[in-house]
């Protein structure tokens, strides 16, 4: 290497560092990859919120669906609720997991605000939440027709996030898993 070219080494290092740091600015340090991506839905047997049945993981498998973790104590869930209702009205299949909540309050919430869920699982102790790796509501899991978790979204689902990212994920659920 000629000594002239060597003079550019510090500049090169600086540019490299600047690119790395700049990329760091746009990363979300709160974002956590789910450990359950491409794994089957964990097994459970829990009561349904609005009927007397007991629901198990097998009841949720069969069609591509959203699994939405919600609770009445969760303010963001209240924000998200009308949009979930719109999604459900447009034909998106959504199951609810009523996470560490009071069932009476949860039922009256669905009665007064509308029920976007085909069924809600009562996870009063948060055991299913633990198996899913839930660390706060709202969280939404995307499961395909074989009951395999394909995606996890943490936080509120709104118009912008749905059309920007999640709709593509949901549409991909309908295509066979091995493609």
């Amino acid at each position: 290497m000629s000594s002239r070219l060597k003079l550019f080494v510090p500049l090169g290092l600086f540019v490299l560092l600047a690119v790395l740091l700049f990329r760091g600015l746009s990363l979300d340090p709160q974002a956590l990859p789910s450990a359950l991506i491409d794994k089957p839905l964990p097994g459970f047997k829990l009561p349904a919120l609005r009927t007397q049945q007991t629901l198990s993981d097998a009841d949720l498998v069969g069609e591509p669906a959203l699994l939405n973790v919600w609770a009445t104590w969760c303010i963001s869930c209240r924000v998200e609720h009308p949009y979930l209702q719109r999604l459900a009205d447009s034909g998106v299949l959504i199951y609810g997991i009523n996470y560490k909540d009071d069932s009476v309050a949860a039922r009256s919430w669905l009665d007064s605000l509308g029920d976007p869920y085909r069924a809600s699982v009562v996870d009063a102790e948060g055991t299913l939440g633990l198996d899913l790796g839930v660390y706060g509501a709202p969280e939404t899991y995307f499961i395909d027709g074989n009951g395999v978790i394909r995606y996890r979204h943490v936080g509120v689902i709104d118009e912008r996030i749905w059309t920007g990212r999640l709709k593509a994920v949901y549409d991909a659920l309908a295509t066979p898993a091995d493609s």
Binding site: L32, G126, Y135
Partner: protein, 165 residues
Amino acid sequence: MLVNSFKKSLQLIALVLGFGGSLCALAVIETYEFSTPQLEVRYRALSQELRCPKCQNQNIADSNAPISQDLRALLYEKLEEGASDEAILEDMVARYGEFVRYRPAAQGAALWLWLAPALMLGAGFLLLIVLLRRGKGVSKASEGALTQEERARLDQMINDKADNS
């Protein structure tokens, strides 16, 4: 009148302090009864090594987030069931990913983190050796640069200088 208002403010201060005290008491983390002291030692160690997924910069022993409480309860159950440390950690990682460990396993992307100090130290030494070698080469070249003729001239110059003084 003045005394009265002074009394009132004292009462207010006592009330505020009282509230503060009771809030602190509420923040105390629940305790578990272990069947053996060894289990408690392992519980302490593991709860300090597991990271709270919600608060992210606290371990589950420090954090009072609901998820940390759940994880502590799970940890307690597993310990009492007789699970090994490795099995418990594996179980947590299966749920929350390698993220929940403050000492991630040396594999995948984390392997680079573990190796980076050694690699950088090695690279530094290599650079040092190269630079030292090069420096030696230069000084040797300049040492042998004086020819017989030049040496004679140098000697003469030194002698001249000595004579003049």
